[in-house]
Amino acid sequence: MTTGNRSSLGRLFHGETAVDFYGRRRRGFTVSLVLLVLSVVSLFARGLDLGLDFEGGVAWQVPATASMDADIARDVLRENGLDPANAKIQKLSNASEETIRVQVADQPADVVDAVQKSLAEAASVSSEDVSVTSVSSSWGRAITEKAIRALVIFLVLVTIYISWRFEWRMAVAAIAAMAHDVVISVGVYSVLQFEVTPATVVAFLTILGYSLYDTIVVFDKVQDNVKSFSGTRMPIADIVNVSTNQVLMRSINTSVSSLLPVLSLLILGSGVFGAVTLREFAIALLVGMLTGAYSSLIVATPLVALLKQRETKYASLVGPHSTGDTLRAMVVSGLPTGVRATRRAEATDGGPSSGGSDTATAVLTHPPRPRKKRRR
């Protein structure tokens, strides 16, 4: 098996990449930090466009017939004693029909009925064709509070679980990566001023779950490698780099597989068929899944390395880590080598290690452990 002469795509496919994730952590952290700051600034400056379900209010949706347009809807509001200036009037279109959506603040039931009838008259449709959505503002607040409470409890549970299954450092890193993903996704909503609906909240929660899921798959690999390298004097940076490269293909494949249905929902579902609920849902998911896959490799894993470096076992091993072909050799074999350990002693004062092809071959001279004889 040769390792030197493949294209980068070929290397990816064969799991022979040697990306120095740990060494380039600062770049990743900077990108993330910029995005986070942008999101937070936008959240404070522009806020979120909270939909009907959170702020309360009434919305009527009436088919856009020949006699119905936004101006007429405004007239109808005025007739019923509502100020059209405070109303949000949108034209929605999907494949089969166009509708006009009129949204105002919380109104008493008789006003709601009266407007419904007037709108139906104006559009010359039966009043059953005018769909009404009304949410009292207290109810909107209540569901938001419930969702936040659920979220906090979930985070506590997940922290406990990860600390128990892995270790607390990984829990910290995973939660940080998840917060990163959610803040950036919410930031996209704030920057683009998309309306936040219950479907969006569902999407944010999916992102949260997806981000954690993805991070845990990577951490599982890190933990595996920490165990298998425990007898050696490998710096944690190497272990983390080896693990990240080993799961790189899986992360990309999974992301593609997860994104395909979402893209399908976005392009076909909302673009072609015009289901608006789907559009919002899909955009949030798209952003969230991309940041989720990104953060588990670029944010969470280097963070674990940084945290673990404070452990006594690894504190003494801080120093230059392997890159290039040395790293590749370890990624491919999953084994540290005696050669490497001795080379390490020489290389400590020789600046950054220059992994040579001789090391790679040295690694590969170790054949896999012979199989034990098994019963068939």
Partner: protein, 541 residues
Amino acid sequence: MTRRLLGSLIGVVAVVLLAVVGNLSAGNEIALGLDLQGGVSVTQEPVGEYNSESLDVAVERIRERVDALGVSEPEIIRQGDAVVVNLPGVDNQDEAIRLVQVTGAVLLRPVVSASPISPGAGVPETEAPATGSTPETTAAPGPSRSIPGATTPDTAPDTTPEATSETLATDSASPSDAEPVDSVADTADDSVPPTGSDLPPASEFADVAAQPISSDPNDPTASVIVQNIDGTEIYQLGPAFATGEVFNSDATADIIQGGWGVRVTLKRGSGGEDLWNIGASQCFSGTGSCPTRRMAIVLDGVVQSAPTVNQPSFSGGVDITGNFKESEAKDLARVLKSGALPVRLEVQAVQTVSPTLGEDSLRATLVAGLIGIALVLLFMILYYRTLAIVVVGGLVVSGGILWNVITFLSASSGLALSLAGAAGIIVSVGITIDSYVVFFEKLKDEVKAGRTLRNSAERGFKSTWRTIVAADTVSLLAAFTLWYLTVGSVRGFAFFLGLATLTDLVVAWFFTRPAMMLLARSGRVGRRGAFGIKVAPGGAS
């Protein structure tokens, strides 16, 4: 080992197939949520003071009303204190709101006349106000057991043992033996029976016969004709003289004089005891407003109990006894508790979804979802080639499991698939696929390390299983927390996320594992370089 794997593989496929056949032959279908089918959703929340019984009773009443309306697949969901009623196919918003506005309030009305409903007739004889048909009450002297002041703290000082003066009525003239015969007795030891001297004039109860009979059974000021709870008797009732709020909310079912009964205390003062005693004295005397001497306890137009009043006035508490079964006594106690502090449900949110909108969304989700899954499969086939057979098989099996569970729950417990839920399932395809990707990548590593395919499959699955369990546990945690603590579409999403994650685990263990191991043993995959890398010879057994 091979046999066991084969057994698991065939077993899971057979179970899924059998369940599909079972569901199909039972005619079960996936119930569509409101957003997919169209209809009205009303969310109500209690405001002000109420007790948990009154909310329970109100929700039950809503359920009965909705069931009586014959709406197909209605959903009545308690989410914390909020009550969400989804009525698919209903497009009249006003009607829906009227339907679900229930308070759990109890009215106390004098019985003008009562007549049994013969089981065969079905149609109640509404024109039977003849007093002859009403059950006569005969006073049966029975020493009432002295109750150690539990329910009557106000009469504690004057405990005179002359409780025998109070009688418990038994109804000998009851037309049907199965019918519970109720009576009301004072639990207090009335040393000074307050005979109507301090009662306000009860002229409003006079001339009952002249009262117009209202079509709204909940109109407290009109006479009404209603049935009792098990449909054995029909009553003409006068205007309500009081509501259940005369009672404290401490009604309990208890053994009273050797049979199940309900004991409840009266509130003191003009809003409680006094009001009750006005009605009680009229019923006891059997005058024009209450010729039958019975008083009906009415909840939402249904007589819960119509006991005979055995004494003109009460102080402290009331016992209701009769041929109650334990469950009936407990139900009545619950109704009285509810009536003591009825819940006021306020409509918080109303959503009318027009069915065309729903239909469009449904088609869009379905088509987009199927295309998305097809693309994923195509990607898998291009990337993993032969191994993709396992992915396709696994997705078919998990699809089958999901379909079975959802249809079964739709039919049995009114689960409805909402747009958020459908989208959640499509999204969870990603998580399912990930299990395979993790497994295959691991397999690749093992094969590259020089192991045979057979060996790699076993080792690979072992480590993959640990990864899948760890990652899926987080998803399940999310699903359970969200399902338990949130409302509305988030809750629907959480349910389907949890369901899909559990399915993922089941399929990984019972389908993917045996399928992959058998495939590895057969040697067919190995020879062709399944993942674009050479596999060490000897993979075949």
